[in-house]
Assembly symmetry: C5
């Protein structure tokens, strides 16, 4: 992930052109099309094919407008997906903070075990989720797991699911034992429930690309358009066709490739969400809320050295 | 359903053109229009009708822009519907997982019967829903039904409805008997309620196509446009009219046909949602949560062989 | 309401052109404009006014693009309204099913009176709502009303309101008497509340057309445009102006008239929602859930003959 | 507020052109621009400046398309605001009806005082809100205030806030005294809470115009465009420039002025929401539900004469 | 923040052009481009390069339409963000008012300490949040902090988080001690929870700019477009190219720069939300509700002098 400032200088942005993976792909495709259109123009000139070419730029203008409307659709849907993913991770932050505050207020201050258990479980849920949305959870990235827990989670396919299960078991047990009251039990459930809701929403975004037909349709259309473009412009613009083809291709290809890149926002590209960072922020917040003012504070320092 | 990767290579996509049912329909219509426009051009040339044709391509550009704005509307609404259906099935996953976690935490660990009942009922609700949205639920696709249940559901029109009814009856009975507390009862209701909410939302999407007038309007417009197009282009582009007509028709027809195809997302086309797969995933998750650590684990293996 | 299939054949749709009320209105207006533009062209030719006409088609292209953007706005808002109305009725289905399931689980199985009361009240709420959104509720369309109820509702202006009131009175009374528990009372309230929420949302959609200025603006603009169009095209296209004017008018008028038609979705046009059918479906579902397995089943048959 | 029917005749609407305040503003600006462009054309002809004017209509077409895209943005955001305001007032209707139904069911039938208090307080909240969103609440428009209440509210800046406070105080007191049960208390809170939520949403809509830069930007752009337009068209269209300028100005100015007008929907223009009427409808509904079947019915008649 | 009236006169707005920071940036860039295009035209004339320039304005029209579609996307997303931020702060107002009303009704009237604590804590949460979204909370801007609190918050990174924690601790303690009932506890939790939800949503808006690739793409495109524009227009418009380039640049640059400016709505620009003012309004409302009618009223006057 590249850290960048949105409100920075204009040219700073322009010169970052090649630091984005998607932008590099776009630039490569645009250069390729430049070579192709130069070959077309050269071929037409050498073979003297002018009189067979009646296509002019009007039709290409028209098609480009239609294309751009559907590329606008593509952009909007890809962005919506990205923004929804961001909202889910934002909600995860809120939820975990609230959950920590409720745990802290509901259990008696002397109960350090539940604070430790909740702090690490909430943190682990977020850390596991971030990796689960990439190549799958690796247990060594979770914090403060006991032997028993490592053994338990190793047998599970879907680690975040079972972390959530364990959190709820503790809550339900405390309710049965009377440690937390009926009201506490009702209040804390909303926060717990949304852990899995957020998990499910992220899985949905990850696993559902744009419908197959749209993906094929757009690429067939853009390919046909780019292949025919130099023929359409050659009569009118001569060698000027080459830069024009490249500029138009930049406009159209860029959008399609950016849409493709952005619709899976959980990876490690420069456009992806910093889900790992967010998970670590949650970890820090949750431990701060739940262990800061307890007798466990002394031993915490050393223990966290290997964690943060 | 074709499994495909969104982030794959560009040309991989382009060559999949004919593996999509909708794309094949589009290609067929485009070829037909190509033949038609060749006949028109030939007729004009042979009969020497040039002087009667004053229509030029400007007006067709204009109309195509208007058309594309409304095709954009068509695309957006069809996609929204598809995406909402996906959201509902995503919510179903979350709900069923949460429901299973709550059942597991609320009932005493020794109560294997309720775990078995809930696991199979939740799974059956999802399996029944997937088929209900296609040609109707078939009871042989549900898992682990008793004789009594088969008899009961056979008399019902709307199977998922009555599965939900039975789930709630068990919850309400447990509440009356005091097995689960007031707080449990309140907590678990939200998850149960959204089973029927999701069911209803999917039925709504399935049963409500785009308003009749819009469907007719768009098809009349596209038909009139395509029929007139070769006359409009013939003067300017000669035989070049044929490929141009086909390209424009590809742009316009493709969108309308894709919109039609995608607005019912519960079938078995390549664009449809994998609702059957999702239902089976839920089944697996729910059984994992509810039976994994119970004495029933031994007998489970054999029983599931015929299930999964 | 015409029953039609969205995924049917293309030409089936095209030939339905005149079976839609709105489409007939559009076709009529388009034919009128055809006659008008023929008169204009004839007048210009006979009176030899060519040299006074300098307007060409460029400006009309421009204006049509602007117009189509605002007609796109019109279409989107009208459709959103229609779709929201459909969502509300879909939510009504879910709610009523859930309400019936809760009533069935919460009250003791022996209490047939409450089941009958709730089944008929929920059904009547929906039937009354469907008519309330048309010309007003007529009591003879409701099912199974007692003498007392007919007398009571006759004095009320807003029947659905008071059906909802009576449903809640029974729930609150059962809660006070201890027939249903605190948890039941809390759980069932959400479903009751949304009865009135849905009612209110439908009233809002019905009573709030697009702002007055927009309606006037669009019609003034479209009228001015259509009146001037033949003058703008006459020079370039001669008699070809007539079909072109008609095609463009079809594009523009169709959208405005469809928007107008669709923004009140509660009537009996072919585009309107089948609210009456939905209400009857709810009636059937609710009676099935609440009376199917009770001793009242025998007498039900005869009683329903006059109802369904 | 002008009462009008959306589905009325086309020309009825067109002739209402001048009955809308905004439309009159638009017409005035359009006429002014007509005079201006006539002066420009005259000046160019008299001073013979043709050879210095090379601008043609292509660039103006382009700019108008760009402009119309942003005017489309303007329209959509202004309309969304208006529609959200309508939704809030619709939700207020639902809420107040529900609140009245709950009050009626929760308190013992003999308690006429609470029914009277709640009926008048809910009605006053709505009446006060409607005026609060205009020039501020005037106490003489509220119904049935006691001496004490007049004194109390006179000292307050934000009357609706304190009406809501008083409603909640009564609910909380009844809960403390045990008049209403725990379940009643939880159930009624949602309705009370949304009173202030609706109030806050309306204040937000009222107090937040479109960002300053956008407002300035659009007006600068439209002004520059309109000033230059006659120069751009003069060469090609001669005196035809005058009507064309006026038609294009109608399209562009109309949208901006309508957007401005509609984004504050709480005034008394023809496009504004009938908030006063809605408040009075709520008053009628609430009094009907809460006092209709009580001994207070006799004295009500006379008392309401001065109220409704 | 400039206070301005949306419904003011048209020219008032136009002349405010330079009072907006963003508008000044736009004007500067437009002037620069004017100089640049004058140099280009001059260079072409002097060096007589006309015959090498075949690019005409058609292609630039096309590209500008594509650009404007994506600038429309940019505008919409930036505005949505700004509007969502406004909604969150509106919700904060509602929440705090509701919270104050509940505190006032739930605690016994004699308990002045809790009223003072809640009033100052709610107010401080809002004041801290406003600054937290700028350069970070400064404790001296909070009201009525005790020595202990200053010490406590000084050690914390995320002050609003811990204010919310302390509020909940008091609520939970009151619930444990039996000062507030179960129902009160459940009712007040929703308001507390949304404090952190609002905080999280604002942080999300602040920290997530538009995806990197989009930002780069738009700027590269706009830059390339602006650099090539004078070459494209020079043939056709001569020196008229200069104002035309400036007008088009105004349209395109303005949108990009406004989008950039508006997507972080928490600063102190003229377009930013008046978060500080809103926080102070909340403070005033909350103190009015919670202390107005208590014996603490006398001492309040003097104490607030240094506060408001």
């Amino acid at each position: 992930m590249i850290i960048y400032k949105s409100n920075g200088s204009w040219f700073g942005h322009v010169f970052h052109l090649t630091s984005s993976y998607t932008m590099r792909r776009v630039v490569r495709a645009v250069l390729l099309l430049g070579v192709y259109s130069a070959l077309v123009i050269g071929g037409i000139r050498i073979l003297n094919l002018h009189r067979y070419l009646q296509v002019d730029s009007t039709v290409f203008s028209l098609l480009a407008v239609i294309l751009s409307i559907f590329l606008g659709f593509r952009t909007t849907t890809a962005y919506d997906r990205w923004w929804e993913a961001r909202k889910q991770w934002g909600a995860l932050v809120n939820n975990c903070r609230n959950l920590a505050i409720y745990v802290d207020s509901m259990w008696p201050p002397a109960d350090l075990a539940i604070r430790r258990f909740m702090a690490k479980s909430i943190a682990n849920f977020c850390l596991a989720l971030a990796e689960h949305l990439r190549q799958g959870t690796r247990l060594e990235q979770l914090v403060d797991l006991s032997e028993e827990e490592v053994g338990y989670y190793t047998t599970k396919d879907h680690v975040p699911n079972f972390i959530a299960l364990r959190i709820y078991q503790r809550i339900a047990a405390a309710h049965r034992e009377g440690t937390i009251s009926e009201g506490d039990y009702l209040n804390i459930k909303a926060q717990h429930q949304s852990l899995l809701d957020i998990l499910g929403a992220c899985e949905r975004i990850k696993k559902t690309p744009i419908p197959f037909s749209y993906a094929v349709y757009l690429k067939v259309f853009v390919t046909a358009y780019a292949v025919l473009l130099p023929f359409g412009l050659s009569e009118q613009f001569g060698w000027g066709t080459v830069p024009l083809t490249m500029l138009i291709a930049f406009a159209l290809l860029g959008v399609e490739l950016m849409g493709e890149e952005i619709e899976d926002p959980f990876g490690r590209d420069c456009n992806d969400l910093p889900t790992g960072d967010i998970a670590h922020t949650i970890k820090r917040n949750v431990f701060e809320i739940l262990e800061d003012r307890t007798p466990a504070a002394e031993q915490r320092q050393e223990e966290y050295d290997k964690v943060f």
